[in-house]
């Protein structure tokens, strides 16, 4: 009997050990393993982007300079988010440098303490020049007065248009929303099978491109008192206008799931005359390999609404350091290298708008841009609004809420009532985050 219990104890101990081992191996991500301390391998996670392509091609230089080995993981936008959700939630130390979207995930990541404090790092190297970064983007990568990221890519909303179709219609480039609607109407009437206007239609995807319409009509997602501004009169007008443009002058049988790849495809296939979209995607329209209308694309600032032309001007991507990484010093080295003046200039020349003021004042910085696009960006940077979505912690949920009146307007529903409902729902999110 005794022997039995001894064996039983031993078996239980073995089982416990095994379980502990398994648990420890599950949790090994959360600690800071000593072996990683001096790691010469730097794990960098980046999004699929032209920015990444350029950095990737220059990586051997960085590796030679520092003696570090860079392990690069690259994902599409959604997959990147899912990766971060799973890995950072588990407290992984397997990511050192992370490319993230300050406006989409910045607040959440900073609140969850996923992002290391870089306040001291950005100040150490005067030559690298933290002061050179545009103030709007810097604000977006700062959380509770701590710098948690370095902005790398900026974006403004601009009007893409077909020069040939406007010429055929005998029209000037639209400068106001009224002219935009009139031009869309004429283009659709003159060219069978071609939409007058196209833009994103997906409930969540459209929010960012709708935001500039909202600001230009005098509204905002959150008003000055910190309350929901989604059900204001200005917002209702903007919803009805944006949705009406697509409903009345958009592609036939328009889908309500379009993000930029779908909307851009319609434009670059020559199936639309006017298109409002982020300027950072302009290469898709001007590259003859990707676009059937490469030669006839023009760019102009967002047409002015009742409150003027107020396009967003935002940092779409930034680099941060994982708080749980044991390789933070080397991670900073990588960021310093990838965001240096020279690299930012080179990447901007490849077609990615940078976040440093010096690359915009430098003629070489805009030498590769179409002249009208460079002028447009200069104008939007001046009176741009620093956000393109509600600045909250729960961004995805809020986008679904404030985006609903857009799709209701596109499908011909009562967007005013939808805006009222969205306003109430969004206010609940705001209250919960207080």
């Amino acid at each position: 009997m005794k022997r039995h219990s001894a064996v039983r104890v031993a078996a239980m101990a073995a089982a416990a050990l095994m379980a502990a081992g398994a648990l420890a191996s599950c949790g090994s991500g959360s600690g800071t393993p000593a072996a990683d301390k001096e790691s010469k391998t730097l794990r960098v996670t980046l999004a699929n982007h032209v920015w990444t392509d350029t950095v990737k091609s220059r990586l051997p230089e960085f590796e030679k300079q520092t003696g570090l080995k860079v392990e690069l993981s690259q994902y599409g936008e959604d997959q990147l988010s899912d990766q971060y959700n799973v890995k950072l939630n588990a407290g992984t130390s397997e990511i050192d440098v992370m490319m993230y979207r300050p406006l989409q995930e910045g607040k959440l990541f900073a609140k969850n303490a996923y992002l290391a404090d870089l306040s001291d790092d950005v100040k150490t190297n005067k030559e690298w020049g933290w002061a050179d970064f545009q103030s709007g983007p810097v604000l977006a990568t700062t959380y509770k007065e701590k710098v948690v990221g370095v902005p790398i890519i900026t974006e403004q909303e601009v009007l893409y248009y077909r020069k040939d179709l406007l010429k055929k219609a005998g029209l000037e480039v639209p400068k106001t929303m009224v002219e935009l609607e009139a031009a869309a109407k004429v283009i659709k009437a003159q060219n069978p099978g071609v939409a007058g206007f196209v833009a994103r239609t997906g409930k969540s995807a459209a929010v960012t491109q709708f935001s500039s319409f909202l600001y230009s009509f005098g509204g905002d997602f959150i008003d000055e008192s910190g309350k929901s501004g989604v059900s204001s009169d200005a917002a209702k007008k903007a919803y009805a206008f944006y949705g009406g443009l697509i409903r009345n002058y958009g592609p036939a049988n328009v889908s309500t799931d379009m993000s930029w790849p779908e909307a851009m495809a319609i434009f670059t296939q020559g199936k639309a005359g006017l298109y409002t979209e982020a300027d950072s995607l302009y290469k898709n329209a001007t590259d003859p390999v990707k676009s059937k209308v490469a030669k006839s694309v023009g760019f102009a600032p967002l047409p002015a609404g009742s409150s003027g032309s107020k396009a967003y001007n935002i940092p779409s991507w930034a680099l941060g350091v994982n708080e749980a990484s044991a390789n933070q010093a080397n991670a900073w080295k990588f960021i310093e290298w990838a965001t240096s003046k020279a690299m930012t200039l080179e990447i901007q020349k490849a077609g990615v708008p940078g976040a440093r003021t010096s690359v915009w004042s430098n003629p070489a910085g805009i030498s590769t841009y179409p002249a009208d696009l460079a002028a447009t960006i200069a104008a939007s940077t001046k009176n741009g609004v620093g956000h393109d979505r509600p600045l909250v912690i729960k961004v995805p949920e809020s986008r679904d809420i404030v985006g609903n009146p857009i799709v209701v307007a596109i499908t011909g529903g009562d967007s005013g009532a939808a805006a009222d409902a969205a306003g109430a729902a969004f206010q609940k999110v705001l209250d919960a985050e207080k």
Binding site: A19, N85, D257
Partner: protein, 307 residues
């Protein structure tokens, strides 16, 4: 007089004796440990999460809220109940169509004919395709502006349809895609059942003057009953859990009006998009219970039939 000499068994002998006595446990132990660690632990963790208000990060502090999440989910008529309804519509619609079509095709393939092999290979093609690739392919075919489906309709003078982008047409279109992909599996299962049937009852019915329909309805189908049930159970559970083609064609949230949001897509959105781990776990636990309940009903009924 013989003396009984009792020697103490050596440790090795004792160990092997013990192992021998408990062999059923020992042999099953690795599998049980595996099940315990990989199924029960995550399940228990999910149950625990469903009782908390965890959000943002699972490592962040969360409060125990009891059954509050369950109450919230049960009273959610905007997303939860519609997705329950969609889950069943999708599963019911797809499985019913697959069974009818699958039975028809299996009956056609049952009797040997020329070129049988090639037909079988062709029919099995959709089954081996990756669901995400299938989703992307149909998404292109059903594109309202540049897709092949609308061009085809145009040749026959039928007006273009919204297909996947329509609020009411998206779910039926996805049922169609599911039927396209999974009918072959039903065909396989039913064909296996059919080939194992003896010809005699059918011949007897034929001699008695039964029509083809009567022979199918009163002879073949009853004999095939257990195979049919297996096919329905397997495909039904699989269809309930469908995620890939829904996500590949409509993305997070199942479209702007949540028109194809099933329980699976809803739970995914709650955890990966909204970071509401508490509510997401609640939905998943309810979904899990639902599948268990259906399984239980099916097996219970079958046991009842036998007795």
């Amino acid at each position: 007089m013989t003396v009984m000499v009792t020697t103490r068994p050596t440790a090795r002998q004792a160990c092997s004796a013990w192992a021998n006595r408990h062999r059923k446990w020992l042999f099953a132990a690795p599998a049980m440990l595996f099940v315990g660690l990989l199924i029960i632990v995550p399940l228990a963790w999910t149950v625990y999460l469903s009782l908390t208000d965890a959000q943002g990060s699972v490592r962040a502090e969360s409060e125990f809220v009891g059954l509050a999440n369950y109450l919230k989910v049960f009273s959610d008529t905007e997303r939860f109940w519609p997705s329950v309804w969609r889950t069943f519509t999708f599963t019911g619609g797809a499985v019913a169509a697959e069974m009818v079509l699958g039975m028809g095709i299996a009956l056609l393939l049952w009797r040997p004919f020329k070129g049988e092999k090639w037909v079988r290979v062709a029919i099995l093609m959709p089954l081996v395709a990756t669901p995400v690739a299938v989703g992307m392919m149909w998404r292109l075919i059903f594109d309202p502006n540049i897709g092949f489906a609308n061009q085809l309709l145009d040749w026959f003078g039928i007006p273009a349809q919204p297909w996947l982008s329509g609020q009411t047409s998206a779910l039926p279109t996805l049922i169609f895609i599911d039927v396209w992909q999974w009918t072959p599996m039903i065909v396989l299962i039913l064909l296996a059942g059919l080939t194992s049937l003896s010809d005699e009852p059918d011949e007897a019915a034929r001699i008695d003057g039964a029509s083809s329909w009567q022979r199918f309805r009163f002879v073949t189908l009853p004999l095939l009953r257990s195979t049919v049930i297996v096919a329905i159970v397997l495909r039904g559970i699989d269809a309930l859990k469908t995620f890939d083609i829904l996500y590949a064609t409509k993305g997070k949230g199942g479209g702007s009006f949540h028109e194809v949001e099933t329980l699976n897509v809803y739970a995914f959105g709650l955890s990966f998009d909204y970071n509401d781990y508490g509510i997401a776990s609640t939905v998943l636990i309810l979904f899990f219970l639902l599948i268990i309940a259906i399984m239980w009903m099916v097996t219970y009924r079958r046991k009842g039939d036998r007795s």
